[in-house]
């Protein structure tokens, strides 16, 4: 199933142009966006099941993540002063447009909910804002996978069936990790389960994705992308393990949470680097396309 190594190119130069997005801006945004979205859901569930500490921590995480995310995105723009142009149109064919229309209301709602929860003012409106943020939360965590996949970048585009699940699981792990770090053990049971489940799901989906990709998945296994994802895998596995065994230790839980956060962050960096590498080397564009054209 391994395609022929022989291919022709123009002096070995890339066919595509890789993303011009800045790092750490965009990988960080993916991470905090997923974290914020997941946290918004956790916050509502925490409120519903009367876990106030968890609710507060998650609201702060949702709002903070949203704000950090917005800052990162605006900073990444070539013309940051024109960031509002993102809201000139609403285009379903543009995940970035759709995403802007998710992020904008989500940020507002998450910040409103967090402010209300922290200061105690306008609790009803605050709660409504929180519900709104939670409704948008899962979209926050998954649209970014579509953002990456909806390009010509071989390692991203070909990965589109699994990538949303990888990002969702990673967001779940991150959202759960916040609780493990910031919340007393008596309230963090559910998020332990969420974190462990999310982490495990991330490990599985990531493997499934790489396997299916085959040749085009090479950048997830080799080079800088491979190294980052390898580290992410280790940290996430440690977090899953930790989640299972630190049920009685606050410190252990915090360490577990930290490992999961780091793993979630490195996953995004790894995916970003793998994409760049797959755009840079012409073989990932030429070989599969040439194979498609060659009759068997």
């Amino acid at each position: 199933m391994v395609p022929e190594a022989e291919f022709r190119s123009y002096y070995g130069r890339p066919v595509l142009k890789g993303p011009v997005w800045k790092t750490p801006d965009v990988p960080v945004y993916l991470f905090v966006g997923g974290l914020a979205g997941s946290s918004a859901v956790v916050a509502e569930l925490a409120a519903w099941t009367r876990r106030p500490a968890l609710e507060r921590a998650s609201r702060v995480a949702a709002a903070g993540g949203a704000l950090v995310g917005v800052t990162a995105l605006v900073h990444d723009l070539g013309r940051p002063e024109r960031f509002l142009n993102m809201l000139r149109v609403f285009k379903l064919t543009s995940p970035l447009s759709v995403g802007s229309w998710i992020l904008a209301p989500f940020s507002g709602l998450a910040v409103a909910a967090a402010l209300s929860a922290l200061t105690g003012t306008l609790p009803r409106l605050g709660r409504a804002a929180g519900v709104g943020a939670a409704a948008l939360g899962p979209a926050m965590a998954t649209y970014t996978a579509v953002l990456f996949a909806d390009t010509a970048v071989p390692a991203w585009h070909e990965a589109y069936p699994e990538l949303p699940y990888v990002f969702a699981a990673s967001a779940a792990a991150a959202g759960g990790a916040v609780g493990l770090i910031a919340v007393p053990l008596r309230e963090s049971g559910p998020v332990r389960r969420l974190a462990v489940g999310g982490g495990a799901a991330e490990l599985v989906m990531e493997r499934v994705m790489e396997r299916r990709l085959g040749f085009v998945g090479e950048p997830y296994r080799e080079g800088r992308g491979g190294r980052l994802l390898g580290a992410a895998r280790l940290l996430t596995a440690a977090g899953v393990f930790g989640g299972l065994v630190t049920g009685r230790s606050r410190a252990g839980s915090a360490a577990t949470g930290a490992a999961l956060l780091a793993g979630s962050l490195l996953t995004r960096f790894g995916v970003f680097e793998a994409g760049r590498a797959s755009a840079r080397d012409p073989k990932y564009t030429v070989v599969p396309q040439r194979a498609r054209l060659t009759p068997h």
Binding site: V15, V20, G78, T93, A152, F167, P282
Partner: protein
């Protein structure tokens, strides 16, 4: 309002009407016949002169006579040079080809642009409205041909406009006007496609079996290009993708997957909260 499969990929006979123009003129584009290109680079210079594109690199590349390297924000016509010697008899061949933005029927750059800066013109071409672009850079990795790019120091993206300003005045693009051998031909796309088919036939009859068209077919992965080519070897030899596909073709499926994953996240979170404390 949700995009149907047809609108995102596949043949699209009236691209300007599809974009909303009421009575657009005939679609125009380029047919670049590389079999008569003499590698003079008049196209590169004419384009830069007309569009005030900055110089972008004074370094010898060693890539034959190609020191422009690739299309980008500051190179909108790029002449490629490929030296080939036959291993059998040492016969030399020097391929020369002027590359340009393809102005795809289904343009991924346009599809993914979140500000509406990239638009389809009444001529069927794709242009960037530079007063709107905020340099988000999304179009850059979306392009299956690696054309559009961000200009260093400016922040916005730039690419060939098919000399939109000249078209509006009834003139042909600068590169087509400058090309001395009519390697770059400009005109109604339908007519160019007919001419190109005839030219390939003439070449085949003359023994040039390697001649083939590229980007001419409305059934290809981008719905056919507004700027298509006659090549004398496989596309990848020239740095072109063999079988480009507009990424938007798979977008509906991507949204479905994302929705599934979002649902899974919501469900997973809810399930985590079920059951007794803690």
């Amino acid at each position: 309002m949700s995009p149907s499969r047809n609108a995102l990929s596949g043949p699209l006979p009236d691209v300007a009407a599809d974009a909303g123009y009421a009575a657009p003129p005939e679609r125009v584009g380029f047919f670049t016949d590389t079999s008569v290109c003499i590698g003079c680079k008049a196209c590169e210079v004419a384009c830069k002169e007309w569009n005030l594109v900055p110089e972008d690199g004074l370094q010898l590349t060693g890539m034959s006579y190609d020191n422009s390297v690739a299309l980008g924000a500051d190179t909108w016509r790029h002449v490629a040079f490929i030296e080939q010697s036959s291993p059998v008899d040492g016969d030399l061949r020097w391929l020369m080809s002027s590359d340009v933005c393809k102005h795809c029927t289904h343009a991924a750059c346009l599809d993914v642009c979140p500000t509406g800066s990239l638009i389809r013109t009444e001529f069927g071409t794709v242009v960037v409205q530079e007063d709107i672009c905020n340099g988000c850079g999304y179009c850059v990795p979306a392009c299956p041909y690696g054309v559009i790019d961000q200009r260093p120091g400016d922040g916005r993206v730039f690419k060939c406009t098919l000399c939109y300003d000249r078209l509006g005045a009834g003139m042909e693009p600068a590169c087509a006007k400058a090309c001395p051998t009519e390697s770059i031909q400009f005109g109604p796309l339908e007519e160019l496609r007919e001419r190109a088919a005839e030219r390939v036939q003439v070449l085949h009859e003359g023994g040039v079996e390697q001649a083939r068209l590229y980007g001419h077919d409305p059934d290809d992965g981008v719905g056919g290009d507004g700027a298509f080519f006659l090549l004398l070897d496989e596309p990848e030899v020239y740095g072109l993708p063999p079988d480009p596909v507009v990424t938007t073709r798979d977008l509906p499926d991507m949204w479905r997957r994302a929705a599934g994953a979002a649902l899974a996240l919501a469900l997973g979170a809810t399930v985590s909260f079920l059951g007794r404390r803690p």
